[in-house]
Each structure stands twice: as structure tokens, then as C-alpha cells.
Symmetry: C2
Subunit: 197 residues, 2 copies
DNA sequence: ATTGACTGAACGATCGTTCGCTCATATTCA
DNA sequence: TGAATATGAGCGAACGATCGTTCAGTCAAT
């Protein structure tokens, strides 16, 4: 890669990070291009050399999240026992969702996705990656006789992911923290949901 | 009530309903006061005779939701057996959340609440009413020996409410509907979560 | 005679985006 | 290799549109 292309990519990332910071603080629609430019230490006009428009910036952030999710899913070892894998998946994804960035952006993306199909597709794509990985763990557990054979794997996976994503948001709204007790309570619910009757 | 006060209140409701319709279509921050005024068949200036500002309009909608939630909670008969009451609560609240208005507004309020403390307080108030009612049902079930005594009533109640609220949103994003199968799957998860081991 | 619902033009601020411009770097050619 | 050319990152003023809000004025109900 040439030196020019390197600095361009670095700048691109700087802009994305500035945009994330702004969106977290103020939300998509309350953040202006001038806010992002100012935070990134760049002119307004230059934003448009790196991104077609504001929507492209939002999409780039969603794409960055896809990378993070794919890395996480790839790191969940498929060799472990299913019950241990389920625990590891929940703990790992909860750790991701507990980041302040995630808390706000998840809520922000969700509300945007409900109305904006383009964002909705990107959002749904991330969810599908997670859902499939978790459903595979559940399937493995059912085959091993660990989990309830009557379990609807896909629906259960989607429900568990929702539970994990919502815990930090809920805690944030109640003004509290997600301590070890709450994490363990969540894990208990998940285990109970998967366990055979 | 005088005739004047009557028409004023009717007008106030018309404005709120117009605002809801706009917010559902476009979201809080993409909806202008002119959009609301136009939809309500009223001048922009007149909006400010009924509501201090845009935030007051949003708050009024949240207050309307509080009424709906309180009515629902009051209607859940405390005489029923706890397991039947749990079913009824879930089905009833799911029916509320399945309304298109709820789907979008729930997501919209959640993302707004994360950042805006005033809205967050209103939002959290509605959640608390629901949480307490459901926690009471769980408590009754535990006392009757129907539910798991080790259950964290509050945390379980909050989790169940999240599950119910998220099912319609998730289905909407996936482009599908919430049929009887999905509703029943959700109910199964809830029962499993409450059941004693 | 007084009140207050109602109108719509107007205000200043801010929005996303464009555009003419400069300048450092990369590429091409003598 | 050195000079000429092409490229695109970067700037910031300016554009038209739209934002939430105000206000002087009208008119029907009290």
C-alpha cells in the first residue's frame, strides 16, 4: 500500500471514530456533519471525500460492528461442550454489549432500523450471524442430550440474544450497573431455557 | 366542563394523535412541528397553545402510554392462579406490543430514553409499573409452590417484559409476522423460566 | 368586555451538501 | 533521473432547505 493510501485509510478511521463518539453522545439525527468534522479535526468538505453522505457514515459504523461480531463468533471454540459453549457465548456477547458504545448504538440502530430499510438490513445481518452461531451451539447441545430436544433453536437463539442485548440497556435506564449478580441471573435464565425438562 | 374546554381537550387529543402518526412514520427528530400541524389540520402556532414545546408533546404521548399500561395492569385479575395469571399477562402485553404504533414507538422511546433523562424517567416509569405487576404474579406463584423459589422475581420480571417487547420488534426487522407459533414459543420460554427445577 | 383558541408570516439557527480552490503526493514522460 | 502532469485529500465559505419557536393580529365563545 502506498503512503498516500495509508494516510487516507487512517483518516477514514479517525472520521468513523469521531462519528461514533458524536452519535453516542447525541444520536444520529442530532449530530451534524460539522460536529463530526470538528471532533475529527477535519473540515466539513473533507468528510465528503471519504464518505458519500451521512448515511454512508452510519453504514460504515454498522460494517465495523459486523467485523467485531464476526471476530467474536469465530472465537467461540466449536470444540467445547455445548453447555460450556453456551455459557462462553453469553458471557462474551454480554461483555461486548456492556461497552458504553454498544449500549447507546444498539438502541440507536434498532430505532433507526425499524424505519430505514437500508440500516435495517445491515442491522439484521449482524443479528443473523449471532443467531446462527448460537443456534448451532443449541443444536449441538440437543444432539449431545444436554438441551431440550423440543427447543426451537432459532427462536431460542434470537430470544437469548435479545435478553443479552437488553440487560445493559435496561440497567442503564434504571441508573444501575450490571454487576456479577445480574450477569449470573441472566446466565441462569439462559441455562434454564435450554435445559431439558 | 364548558363547551369551550371540551373542544380544547378534543383538539389536544387530535394533535397528540397526529403527532403519534408522524413519529411512527418518521421518528421524533425527523418529524417537524409543521408535519404535526398539517396532519392535525391546525396551524403551527396553535400547537404552542396546547403544548409548551416539542418535548412536551413527546411527554404527553408517554403519559398516554402510562394510562394504557395502568389499565392493562389493573385488568390482570389478582384472583387467578399464578400460572394462569402469568400466561394472561404475557398474552395481554404481547397483544399491546404487537400494535404497529407500539413497535415503532417502543424502539423510538428506548433510543431517546438512553440519552434524554426526562424521557428516560417517563419510559422507566411505565416499565416499573409492568415489572411490579409481573413480579407480584411470580411471587404469588412461588408462594403457591408453582414457581421456582430460587427465582429472582424482579430480574425475571424485567427479563420477561423485555422478551415480550422485543419479539414484535425482532419480527418486524426480519420482515416476518408474529404468528401463533412464535407467540406460543415465547410463552413456552417464559413458563420454563418460571417453572421450578 | 374579556378570554383564549387560532392563524401564518417571520426569525435566527442549523441542517446536509456543494463548490472553487490549494497543495502535497503519485505517476508519466523526456 | 528530473521535470511535467494528474490525482485526490483537504479547506471553508456559501447554498437552499428546514428546523423549533415567536408574535401581532383575528375571531368566536364566555
Amino acid at each position: 500500500m502506498t503512503k498516500r493510501a495509508e494516510t487516507t485509510e487512517r483518516r477514514r478511521l479517525e472520521i468513523i471514530e469521531a462519528a461514533i463518539a458524536c452519535f453516542v453522545e447525541a444520536g444520529f439525527h442530532q449530530t451534524g456533519m460539522r460536529d463530526i468534522a470538528g471532533r475529527a479535526g477535519v473540515s466539513v468538505g473533507n468528510l465528503y471525500n471519504h464518505f458519500m453522505d451521512k448515511a454512508a457514515l452510519i453504514a460504515a459504523i454498522a460494517a465495523l460492528e459486523t467485523d467485531q461480531v464476526e471476530d467474536f463468533v469465530a472465537a467461540t471454540a466449536p470444540g467445547d461442550a455445548a453447555d460450556a459453549a453456551l455459557d462462553a457465548f453469553c458471557r462474551g456477547y454480554l461483555a461486548i454489549c456492556l461497552q458504553p458504545v454498544s449500549i447507546v448504538l444498539t438502541a440507536e440502530f434498532a430505532s433507526e432500523a425499524v424505519r430505514n430499510p437500508a440500516i435495517g438490513a445491515l442491522f439484521e445481518r449482524n443479528r443473523r450471524i449471532l443467531r446462527r452461531a448460537l443456534a448451532a451451539i443449541l443444536e449441538r447441545g440437543v444432539r449431545a442430550g444436554l438441551f431440550d430436544p423440543a427447543l426451537d433453536r432459532d427462536e431460542a437463539a434470537a430470544t437469548i440474544i435479545d435478553m443479552i442485548e437488553n440487560l445493559p440497556i435496561r440497567a442503564h435506564l434504571q441508573g444501575g450497573e450490571v454487576g456479577a449478580d445480574r450477569s449470573e441471573a441472566l446466565l441462569g435464565f439462559v441455562r434454564k431455557l435450554a435445559r431439558r425438562p
